[in-house]
């Protein structure tokens, strides 16, 4: 280790880096430095330029201006291969794993020089034990929880002895317990001199983990701080640049009959490794926001399909809207009765990427918004509907003729949420309402949901973001492997209890002990 020879020289220094995309200045003369062994946070809203910046560090993109200094030496990082050769590892937000292959095969595929499989397997076990990342190299990936899958990506990086580890929003898919475990690993790495660049907008995590934080807004560095002395609120203000609005809830009349009632919904998944729904029951009254928490891939998608009518229940009475049985009615019929839905996947599910915003307004809007005259689409009315959504939800787009696929993820999300809310639903079901949208837009969406509830709409929010659910829901339940827990009143629920329900013991056991002879080989 050359840390002492280079004492005082940062491991990575970003100097005056600028990156332009057509019409956007993604990074504007960005400066910051990461010292050896430092856990450095890169904090910013969506669209602040964090991803662009780390992609340049990892060699995926190339700066237009400025330079990157590695241990004090200017380097031209041409591609990720070169970045890895320098000692830069990156764990992406979305994993690139082959589900049908084993852990070991996946690790080998992502390495530049995997070597022979037997010794790689030994090294995987060594590294995973040394850093508290239990992994069985021979398990198939599809059998693993999201937390375990992330460990594969981390172990893959660690096998290359990185000097700098970039973590892009690593905790967005983890249970609170898994997050704590990950932090232990990262602290251990940092103690060994590995620098960590930690990208997040979760302020509590940054406070708990990071030594220093660089805050980006609109592509520029707007501040640097020590997270341990700042409050979450003060960092958020730096990040957003304005006072944070908190959601105001008018007391809603949550009395009366259930608007949405689900009783014993059991549904086998269509996916090969999907999650079957098992006897899911809950009900939501008018004016109530009902949260469904859970780690991704625990049956949320299946539940949403079953509620929207994209898949039918076995009996009509299993799903009721205002007492009317709709379990056997399709999505169009349910929409006409008042269920509006925002699915988790935007492109290709909630919207057709190749179609204009006008057409995407027609997609789900024509059931309730009087956009048809006989079989003909009333394009004038459809255009007005699309404009209304764009205005009300501040969708940044060159125009309503732009294709849905050309919008950024956050803007498309605003469009889809707006499209469903403006249809004046009786029941609104939203999955990941603020996934990928910036804090300002998230506040707008949360406020819109609260207002909707105040008007007497039954709102169901499915989210992996527990903080979000704690903030906006009246009651919540946790879904785990297709089973929905009984509902609890949000104010009385404890995070630990929810966390345990979310994870159970699933994904937290250590890897099974190796057979004795293999253990001998390791030694």
């Amino acid at each position: 280790m050359t840390a002492e020879a280079n004492a005082g020289v940062p491991r990575l220094e970003v100097r005056g880096v600028t990156k332009r995309f057509p019409g956007v200045l993604a990074n504007d003369h960005v400066n910051f430095a990461v010292d050896p062994g430092e856990v450095h946070a890169l904090l910013g809203e969506n669209g602040a330029g964090k991803s662009t910046l780390v992609k340049m560090i990892y060699g995926v993109l190339h700066p237009d201006e400025g330079r990157l200094l590695w241990n004090g030496e200017a380097m031209d990082i041409t591609d990720p291969h070169a970045a890895r050769a320098l000692g830069i590892g990156m764990v992406f937000q979305h994993f690139s794993l082959f589900e049908a292959m084993t852990v070991l095969e996946n690790i080998a595929l992502g390495m530049d020089e995997p070597g022979d499989m037997a010794s790689l397997s030994r090294r995987v076990v060594e590294v995973s034990q040394a850093y508290g990342l239990p992994l069985d190299p021979d398990r198939n990936v599809y059998t693993l929880s999201v937390g375990e899958r992330q460990r594969i990506e981390i172990v893959r990086c660690l096998l290359q002895n990185p000097k700098l580890l970039i973590m892009d929003e690593p905790t967005s898919v983890l249970t609170p317990q898994e997050v704590e475990r990950l932090f232990e690993t990262l602290r251990k790495l940092s103690a060994e001199g590995v620098s960590i660049l930690y990208i997040s907008h979760k302020l509590d995590e940054i406070k708990a983990l990071c030594d220093r934080a660089t805050i980006l807004r609109g592509g520029r560095v707007v501040g640097e701080c020590d997270p341990s002395v700042e409050t979450a609120k003060s960092m958020a203000q730096m990040m957003i640049g304005e006072e944070l609005k908190s959601v105001t809830r008018r007391s809603a009349g949550t009395h009366g009959e259930a608007r949405l009632a689900v009783e014993g919904l059991t549904m086998p998944s269509e996916e090969i490794h999907g999650i079957d729904l098992k006897n899911v029951s809950f009900s939501v009254k008018a004016g109530e926001v009902f949260g469904i928490a859970g780690v991704a891939g625990n049956g949320q998608n299946e539940l949403l399909l079953g509620l929207s009518g994209e898949r039918l229940a076995h009996h009509d009475t299993i799903v009721r809207i205002d007492g009317e049985p709709v379990g056997r009615r399709d999505a169009g019929a349910r929409r006409r009765l008042g269920i509006c839905v925002v699915p988790e996947e935007r492109n290709g599910h909630g919207a057709v990427p190749g179609m204009s915003l006008v057409e995407n307004g027609v997609l789900s809007g024509h059931h309730r918004m009087d956009l048809l005259s006989n079989v003909f689409i009333r394009f004038g009315a459809a255009a007005r509907f699309a404009s209304e959504i764009v205005e009300a939800f501040d969708v940044r787009t060159p125009g309503i003729a732009a294709s849905a696929g050309s919008l950024s993820g956050g803007n498309l999300q605003k469009f889809i949420v707006g499209r469903e809310i403006l249809q004046k639903p009786k029941v609104l079901i939203v999955s990941q309402p603020t996934w990928g949208v910036d804090a300002g837009a998230a506040a707008t969406i949360h406020q819109a949901l609260a207002d909707l509830a105040a008007e007497g709409v039954a709102v169901v929010v499915v989210s992996q973001d527990l903080d979000e659910l704690l903030a906006i829901s009246d009651r919540l339940a946790v879904i785990n492997v297709g089973v929905l827990s009984s509902a609890m009143v949000t104010k009385e629920a404890s995070v630990e209890e929810i966390g345990l329900l979310m994870g159970g013991v699933h994904g937290l056991e250590p890897a099974p002990e190796r057979a004795p002879e293999e253990a001998a080989n390791v030694a």
Binding site: E73, A74, T78, H81, G350, P353, M355, H367, V375, F376
Partner: protein, 369 residues
């Protein structure tokens, strides 16, 4: 420092509209260029051959009218297929549906062989449409109920249809006064499409083909049905999300394409042919697939591409007569056209970028400014 250059193929983010419409033209130009060299290597005068293939058929009034006669079935079938293709319903068996439509329409004509009446022709058309639909219903049922790939079933059924037609004209429908030739009686006057222009074979069906293309455009552009078809093709999950029934739309697409192919078949036997014979189509049902793609699956584009492919038939015949080119030249040209179209479509979706791949440390070479 090494100067290695590598090429990289990467998907385009936005597909430029201009390129989308330019590639069919590019494909035509490349086909002509390739044809030039094929003729050259085969020992024919390439200029003369191309002239007789592409130009001289267009110089006579009769040639132009024949162009319409050949283009009519291509346009009708192409429009129907394109609607299905938009929904990712791949009906490859229009040739068979056309044959069935010719049979059912022809059977009606022969059933009223010695009768007169303006109702005979409409009845034949309805029979033709129903025949084509019924034949397309087989792949539709197999796809929606058993998830059988419609490409295979519709294609294989084509050969069944052709053999069925042969069975009929060699057997029960053979002209009793026809000296044992495998053909039916000539249809009665009431069963023949009216000729629009004296001295040509241009029949009423050519005009109907154009109207059908316009109707197809209206359906796909302005109605919720066309919208549903487009959504199903582009994003099946979004179609389900919006409550569009996949099963119904698959049936609809196959009924439209089968019905139009069947009607085209009836037009062929009640127009240019005038009776049932063992072979009633020079591959219109297959060529219409090329027509659909060359016309960008757009009904109005299909009118243009239908005319172009019709020219390949007439030009092929003309070049046989004038230059002595082999009959296969028509098929070769059609194949080249499809090949070049698919190849240039690659450039619509992807671009090739040249980049210098030189990993290097610039620190030592360039002092800090």
């Amino acid at each position: 420092m090494s100067l290695s250059t590598s090429f990289k193929i990467e998907p385009r983010r936005e597909i430029p509209r201009s390129l989308l419409y330019a590639t069919p033209l590019l494909a035509v130009v490349l086909t002509v260029v390739a044809g030039f060299f094929i003729f050259l290597f085969m020992g024919y005068d390439p200029f003369l051959s191309l002239y007789h293939f592409f130009v001289s058929p267009l110089l006579t009034f009769y040639g132009l009218s024949e162009l319409m006669v050949k283009a009519a079935p291509l346009i009708m079938i192409g429009v129907g297929l394109a609607i299905g293709f938009r929904a990712n319903v791949w009906n490859i068996g229009a040739e068979g549906q056309l044959t069935l439509g010719a049979i059912t329409g022809g059977v009606v004509a022969l059933a009223f062989w010695n009768q007169e009446g303006i109702w005979i022709l409409p009845l034949m058309c309805i029979a033709g449409i129903l025949g084509g639909m019924a034949y397309a219903a087989i792949p539709a049922f197999l796809k929606t109920h058993l998830n059988v790939n419609e490409i295979l079933t519709s294609l294989m059924l084509t050969y069944v249809a052709t053999l069925f037609l042969s069975t009929l004209v060699y057997g029960p429908l053979k002209d009793p006064m026809g000296f044992n030739f495998p053909q039916s009686r000539m249809f009665g006057d009431s069963a023949l499409l009216p000729i629009l222009l004296e001295g040509t074979r241009m029949h009423l069906g050519t005009v109907l083909a154009l109207l059908i293309a316009v109707a197809g455009w209206v359906l796909m552009t302005f109605t919720i049905v066309g919208f549903q078809i487009r959504v199903l093709g582009q994003a099946p999950a979004a179609a389900r999300f919006a409550g569009f029934s996949r099963t119904k739309l698959i049936w609809l697409c196959l009924m439209i394409s089968g019905g139009l192919a069947g009607l085209a078949g009836t037009f062929e036997v009640s127009g240019p042919i005038g009776q049932l014979i063992p072979v009633i189509t020079p591959g219109y049902g297959f060529t219409a697939i090329i027509v659909a793609f060359l016309g960008r699956l757009h009904p109005l584009g299909i009118i243009l591409s239908g005319l172009l492919m019709a020219l390949s038939y007439i030009g092929g015949e003309n070049a046989q007569v004038e230059v002595g080119l082999p009959q296969a030249v028509t098929g070769v040209f059609q194949g080249l056209l499809l090949f070049f179209l698919l190849a240039s479509d690659f450039l619509v979706r992807y671009r090739i970028r040249r980049r210098a791949a030189v990993p290097q440390a610039v620190g030592a070479a360039q002092p800090a400014e």
